[in-house]
Point group: C2
Chain length 224, copies 2
DNA sequence: CCCCTTTTGTTGGAATTACAACAGATTTAT
DNA sequence: ATAAATCTGTTGTAATTCCAACAAAAGGGG
C-alpha cells in the first residue's frame, strides 16, 4: 500500500488530510486493495454494493449492456478517481451498471458505512470525508450532465464535434488524444461504429479535423 | 414561509432535524423564498451560481437548448425536490444547463456556503445537512444514470419502451400518467416529436400499449 | 520475418428518423 | 358561446443511420 501513497494523497476524498494520517485512516476504514486483470468485471449489473472503489493504477469503465449486446459506456475512471460511490452512498439494492477493468488494474475498496459512521478516533475526519465525497459526487453529476449534452445532439456528426471540442478544451490544445478506440468511442456516444467512422472520414475530407487512431487535431470551423 | 413548513419537513435535506428547529435553521441559512411565473427562467446557462433551490410548489425543468433551438430536458423537479445543488456544491463557474419554471412556482433558495460553513450556533446541524445533501446528490446521480440508460437505446421505440416501463414500475401499475406532453417527452428522449408520435401509434396498433394524452397503459409484451 | 488477429475505413442497401405540411382534437382566451 | 391558439396524429419525402461484408492497416506472437 505504501507504493500507492503518492496516488492516494492526491485523491480528492482525502483532501485536507495529512499524509502522516492517511495510513492509519485507511486502516481504520478497513480499505482493501485488489488486483484485476484486463476485462474482468468488478461490479455486476443487478448486484447490491456497499463498497466503492478508488483506482490506484489502471482504468475502469462504467458500462450498460442491452438485450442485443450493444454496449453503452457511461464513463471511464483512471488513476486517482473513484467509482461506484454514488451507488454505495445512496444504498441502492440493484446496481444499474457494471464496472469493468479496461486494463490491468489495482483498486482500493472502502466500505461506505465505515466512512459515514466513524469510530470515535476518526471523528475528526468524518465531516471532512463526507464533505469531500459531496464534492466528488457533485462533480460526477456535472460530468454526467456534460455526457448527456454530447448524446443529446441529434446527429452523429454533432455528437462527435461536441465530444471532440470538449476534449480539445480539456487538453487546452487543438491537438489531443482521446482515451477510446473506435468501438469504445461509438459505445460512449451511443452510435454505430462504422457509421461513426464514415462520419469521421467526411469531417476529415471537409477539412474540419484530422486524426490518426486516437490522436486528433481540430482544424477550425471552416469545414462545418 | 409557515405555509410551506409541511413541505419542508419532508424535504430530504432536512431529514433528522426537528420541525421546531426548522424555522430557525432556515433563518440561520438566510433561506429566501421567491415566486416565478410559468415559463420564467430561474438559472441561466452560462452563469455562475452559489445558491441551490427547493421547489415549495410548482415544477421546474433542467434543460439544455442547442444552436438550432432543439431543447433537451435533463430532468424535472416537483414539490419537495432540490435543483442546482450539484452545481452549487461543485462551485462551478459556468452553469451548463438552464432551469425553467414549467408552471407557476414558489421556490426557496439557499446559499451553499451557508450550508457548508455554519455559524457556531448551527454547528450541530452541519454534518447532518452535508450528509443529507450527499444522499441527495447520490440519488440524483442514479436518476441521471437511469436517464442515460433510456437515451442509450438505439431506436425511438426502444427509448419509449424503456422510459414507459420504468414509469410503470415506479407507479406500481400498468396504468399510469407521465409528467410530459408530447413535445416534452420528445425533448426528454432526444427525438423528434412527430416521429415519436408515429412510433407511439405503431405501438398502439400492435397492441403493446394504449394511451390518451399523458395517460398510458402497458398491455404486455405480446406486441413487441 | 511471417502469420494470425484485431482494428479501422469503405461501401451499398435496408431501416429508421427528421422534416414539413396539414387536419383533427383539445385547450385557452375573449 | 365562439374564436384563437395549441397540441396531437398522419403522411410523403428527404436525410441519416444501421447493417453486413470486406479490404486495408496495424499490432502481436512465434
Amino acid at each position: 500500500m505504501n507504493k500507492y501513497l503518492p496516488v492516494l494523497k492526491r485523491v480528492n476524498l482525502f483532501r485536507g488530510i495529512e499524509e502522516a494520517e492517511l495510513q492509519s485512516l485507511l486502516s481504520c476504514l478497513s480499505a482493501k486493495e485488489s488486483h484485476y486483470e484486463k476485462g474482468q468485471t468488478i461490479f455486476f449489473n443487478g448486484e447490491s454494493i456497499e463498497r466503492f472503489g478508488i483506482v490506484l493504477s489502471g482504468e475502469v469503465q462504467i458500462v450498460q449492456d442491452d438485450y442485443y449486446g450493444n454496449r453503452s459506456i457511461l464513463a471511464r475512471m483512471d488513476t486517482g478517481n473513484l467509482f461506484g460511490e454514488s451507488f454505495a452512498c445512496a444504498e441502492i439494492k440493484t446496481l444499474p451498471v457494471s464496472v469493468i477493468a479496461t486494463t490491468e488494474s489495482e483498486l482500493l475498496f472502502i466500505d461506505y458505512h465505515r466512512l459515514a459512521v466513524p469510530c470515535a478516533r476518526a471523528c475528526g475526519f468524518h465531516c471532512r470525508l463526507i464533505q469531500n465525497m459531496l464534492n466528488i459526487v457533485s462533480i460526477k453529476n456535472i460530468l454526467l450532465t456534460q455526457k448527456v449534452e454530447f448524446i443529446s445532439k441529434r446527429t452523429t456528426r454533432e455528437k462527435l464535434l461536441a465530444y471532440l471540442s470538449a476534449e480539445a478544451k480539456r487538453a487546452g490544445s487543438n491537438r489531443f488524444s482521446i482515451p477510446f478506440n473506435r468501438q469504445q468511442l461509438a459505445d460512449y456516444l451511443f452510435v454505430e461504429r462504422s457509421a461513426m467512422s464514415a462520419e469521421l472520414s467526411k469531417l476529415k475530407k471537409s477539412g474540419a479535423l484530422t486524426f490518426h487512431k486516437n490522436q486528433f487535431e481540430l482544424l477550425g470551423i471552416g469545414g462545418l
